[in-house]
Amino acid sequence: MHTSTVHAITTPLESATARLLRAGDVVRITGHILAARDAAHKRLVACLHAKEPLPVDLHGQVIYYVGPSPARPGRVIGAAGPTTAGRMDPYTPQLLAEGLSGMIGKGMRSAAVVEAIKQYGVPYFAAVGGAGALLGEAITSYTVLAWPELGTEALADMTVVDFPAIVAIDVLGNDIYTMGRKAYQGVKS
């Protein structure tokens, strides 16, 4: 398994850049990203169904599945690690069709999402689940864009600098979770 490549990538994420990334590649993401999880996804897709305008244009955007803890005074944000991406699966293909260009979360995705990843050429990145304090350090701004009543689940804009992640599913559908598990199955420590 090749894991040596480190890509510094910036948002908005260009399709040409996305297509170069391979499962297992380490990335450092810099730029603006969106924060949205369960409740915001439900509302985004409800807007699409009702043919109402979305609160934000999704073209070129990278969405981070995160519900941060509150910021202590003098800080931008609290702990801000990824939440389980699989819960967003029912909404994901519709958002990719709307122009979304990347996703950051943790954990496995459904077969339908992997198909959509291949169809639209949109990679899925994994950040380390539970490293919330550390990942919060890579976030330099946090601004709620819509639905403040959702609290931690509000749709927000974040600025990230060298946010550490790994390509979990690339645009060819290669999946680090399956590849990684296979590589070490039966190996004793």
Binding site: T3, V66, A79, G107, A131, G132, G151, T152, Y177
Partner: protein
């Protein structure tokens, strides 16, 4: 009869929820360091390095280890010679949860009604409270905040006696395989065997909240814990599920007498942020 003021319970709980969410227990920190030395996957090593850095940063800056600061699970062992004065017991616990989560900048992840409005209670109450009345005049409170990523991968199987040890093995391994990356490995696997439906689940929860270095008193169960741990660490799941030999730090089994026709098995997985803190009052 010793008197214990409800306000002291509130203060203790408020302090415990903050400690538990920002300070990874020492035995977990040591396990992360050991695992980093032993892990053969370079990606896995890097994940473990990030988790160690995360634990140091969280403790130093009083930031939660994980943004999912969980529902507040409270195990209370109340000495029967203690008289709680100055307020209702459950209210005192919930006041403590409210105070700790609000003053400690912890995330409020509790919704009032699970199905319809799903409106946030805004203070992370109510706590999930498990009370036992025990001999003596001491009260022990153990807090184990539990996030949803790992909790959602819990399993209950109502096995029958003929399923035996093999049935238990299969149940635990299937639960771990299904949890995979989603429960943020390296994990601590809590297994409850026996009792009935709800009691097996409670046993699994108590097992998952045990100290990492704690040892099963029964050598047969201790051997089964070791055997399951070895099997889990050969699944290849690895740190963060990205592949490797460190999938779990421990398997803890708690057991209880059961019905002649039953062999309930529950699995409750704790993520690497296996948070807990305890106080005696």
């Amino acid at each position: 009869m010793r008197e214990l003021n409800a306000a002291d319970i509130t203060q203790a709980i408020a302090s415990l929820v903050q400690t538990a969410n920002t300070n990874l227990p020492q035995d977990m920190c040591a396990a992360l360091a050991r695992a980093r030395a032993q892990e053969v996957s370079p990606v896995g090593k890097d994940v473990l390095k990030q988790l160690e850095a995360n634990a140091h940063l969280a403790a130093r800056e009083s930031i939660p280890l994980c943004q999912d600061t969980g529902m507040a699970v409270v195990f209370a062992d109340i000495g029967q010679d203690v008289h709680i004065v100055g307020g209702a017991f459950e209210e005192a616990v919930n006041k403590g949860v409210r105070k700790g989560y609000c003053e400690g900048y912890l995330r409020k992840s509790c919704v009032k009604d699970p199905l319809f409005a799903r409106e946030n209670t805004l203070d992370n109450t109510p706590a999930i409270l498990h009370v036992r009345i025990v001999p003596g005049e001491t009260c022990v409170f153990r807090i184990a905040p539990k996030g949803a990523g790992s909790e959602n991968k819990s399993v209950l199987r109502m096995l029958v006696p003929a399923d035996g040890i093999e049935g238990v093995r299969k149940t635990v391994l299937e639960a771990v395989e299904a949890a995979g990356a989603n429960s943020c490995p390296p994990m601590v696997v809590g297994v409850g065997i026996g009792g009935n439906m709800e009691y097996a689940c409670l046993l699994a929860k108590r097992a998952a909240a045990r100290d990492l270095c704690s040892e099963n008193a029964d050598p047969r169960y201790r051997a089964l814990e070791q055997e399951l741990l070895m099997a889990i660490n050969q699944t290849g799941i690895g740190p963060a599920g990205l592949g490797g030999v460190t999938t779990a730090f421990a398997v803890h089994i708690e057991w209880a007498p059961t019905h002649i026709a039953q062999l309930p098995v529950a699995v409750n997985i704790n993520c690497h942020a296996a948070r807990h803190a305890e106080i005696r009052l």
